[in-house]
Amino acid sequence: MKKNIALYAENLTKIYNLEGVKVRALDGVTFSIPKNQVTAIIGPSGSGKSTLLHLIGCLDKPTSGKIYIGSTDTSKLTDKELAKLRNEKIGFVFQFFNLHPLLTAVENVELPETIKGVGEEQRREKALKLLKQVGLEERAFHYPNQLSGGEQQRTAIARALINNPEIILADEPTGNLDTKSGHEIMQLLINLKKNATVVVVTHDLDIARHAEHIVRLRDGKIEYADGFKKKLL
């Protein structure tokens, strides 16, 4: 595997079985994601973007095919090892914010560290620093329902960054926001990512312009995957 590859997926197929009806959400997908760059996964609704993101985030398992994160073959990992991998190497940002409703903003940001078993003082300091970076230091002790959509998403970005992940996965992170906040969120993600690989699922081509690399899906198959995004957009 090449050094500059963060993630490699080989012949991925995902078939959902819904009350006997089989849905082929992904059909023999092979692609790689370059390291330390921003990759956008685009395609029409129902083309399998979220399914793909869940598979490479190890939230779900493929029906067949393999996913390598770095040089790790994730199909060989136990549930516990997968949990550790998600905790230490991956940061998630979802469309519907996915903050824990019973925890304050800062507690939400801390959550990956809390799960890891980091002590309260240490993780609190880190979380507050990150909240400052996303411009929310004054909202640290507010609960999610007291925050606007954009603020919730910024909290989620801070949370995705706290473990210094190698890969940040975002599924329609701007989908519930207006155009202006959407671009702000993307800019924030790109500015703060440091040495992380970012994969963003979006159906908004305007948002996809922030990316250096594009993977385009249609009907569960790769329609296009390469670095020359300008040709596509």
């Binding site: 998600r86 905790n87 996915n98 019973l102 990956p112 078993g117």
Partner: protein
């Protein structure tokens, strides 16, 4: 994840669900309170009874009015049993071969005051024969026991004289029973026994004096007749007493209106009655605990469903199945613990009320110096441990359900 953080999470979840958590906890409280109350009353009862049985001599036979155990128990509680025992019966008993000596008992309860201080006491009416029946266990510390024809005099049990009033009662003092004065002519040595004997707490009067304080009992209706018999033939002599009394009272076996007990019989009757009562009560307590456990399981299942999305977030962020499981187990254990603590408290309260009610009926909840209600430290520890275990057990299935959720399914859940 650190235990401290799991605990914080669990507490958070419990307090957020406020009322519903409390309703679940109430289920546990009822179960634990039932157990604590029942066991403490049961243990108290056992102590009272063993202390009373401890005072029985092995060469003694008792005759009580009433032909059945239930009528004997009722008469013990002050109700009138069918068929009185009188001096006539005493004479019959004395004539039975093997009987050494016999004495009548009438028992009541009255306030006794001494130098401005008052206490409730057993008032025990009997005659001069009583010390002979009780020869093996009773002796005088000072003075003498009642003699024939004594009136207006009292003999005190050891505790009654030495340990009940602010000042010790000495020989020759005047005590007041109800509104009448009595001169103390004797003080007995302590009989002791497990928890102290009721004789130690009693005031002994002549039958004629005691009659004023003894309710339905009196010289024409004894509470009991105590008999000392030849030690080697207790059962045989008891049988003879029964036959002679039946003849004298003109009753047949199936219409018998009195009972003859030997110590052996009393022990076996009492313990079999106690065992039956306890089994029944424990059954009720166990059922209420099971109901409490089902309540916990139900709440936890609901809570897993409601929190599916949160579980999804936690798993996406790397929480292991084991940690998710622990989160729910800690929560259900907490429900058990809080329910246990409050249950013990209410159990105390209930057993206290039972003690009070009993004291109204029996005029004293401390029968013979032993509390009717006994809450042991072991019982508290056991109940606490038990309620936590119940909490954990009823949390296992919901917690497993939560742990087995696929992260992606949990995230999709709306």
């Amino acid at each position: 994840m650190r235990f401290k953080d799991s605990l914080k999470f669990a507490l958070h979840n419990l307090t957020t669900r406020g009322l519903r958590s409390w309703l679940t906890i109430i289920g546990v409280i009822m179960g634990v309170a039932a157990i604590v109350a029942i066991v403490s009353v049961g243990q108290g009862m056992q102590q009272v009874i063993s202390s009373q049985l401890g005072a029985l001599g092995s060469d003694q036979v008792y005759v009580l009015p009433g032909g059945s155990i239930s009528s004997n128990i009722m008469s013990g509680l002050g109700a009138k049993a069918p068929g009185e025992l009188t001096d006539k019966d005493l004479k019959v008993i004395e004539s039975v071969e093997g009987v050494i000596v016999a004495a009548p008992d009438i028992i009541g309860m009255e306030t006794v005051s001494f130098m401005g201080d008052s206490n409730k006491f057993y008032i025990w009416g009997t005659n001069e024969q009583w010390v002979k029946v009780r020869e093996a266990s009773v002796s005088m510390e000072s003075g003498r026991f009642l003699s024939e024809g004594d009136r207006g005099v009292a003999v005190l049990g050891y505790e009654a004289a030495k340990e009940t009033f602010d000042k010790e009662v000495s020989l020759g003092s005047q005590i007041k029973i109800g509104n009448e004065s009595y001169k103390v002519i004797g003080i007995m040595n302590s009989i002791g026994g497990l928890g102290g004997a009721q004789e130690d707490k009693a005031v002994f009067l002549s039958l004629e004096d005691a009659e004023k304080y003894s309710g339905v009992f009196g010289i024409d209706n004894y509470y009991a007749i105590e008999i000392k018999v030849e030690q080697e033939r207790v059962e045989e002599i008891a049988e003879k007493i029964k036959e002679k009394l039946m003849n004298a009272r003109h009753v047949t076996e199936d219409k018998i209106d009195f009972s003859v007990y030997t110590p052996k019989m009393i022990v076996s009757v009492v313990s079999s009655v106690l065992t039956t009562i306890n089994l029944f009560l424990y059954g009720i307590a166990a059922i209420s605990l099971i109901v409490g456990a089902v309540g916990i399981a139900n709440t936890m299942f609901t809570s897993v469903t409601e929190r599916t999305r949160q579980i999804g977030i936690l798993k996406a962020l790397g929480m292991t199945n084991k940690d998710v499981m622990n989160l729910f187990l800690v929560e259900s254990a907490l429900i058990g613990l809080v329910g246990g603590i409050l249950g013990i408290f209410f159990g105390f309260l209930i057993s206290g009320i039972i003690g009070q009610v009993a004291s109204v009926f029996l005029a004293s909840s401390r029968v013979g110096g032993v509390s009717m209600v006994y809450v042991s430290p072991e019982l508290i520890l056991f109940s606490l441990a038990f309620s936590v275990v119940i909490g954990i057990i009823s949390g296992i299935f919901p917690a497993r359900r939560a742990a087995s959720l696929e992260p992606v399914e949990a995230l999709r859940y709306e």
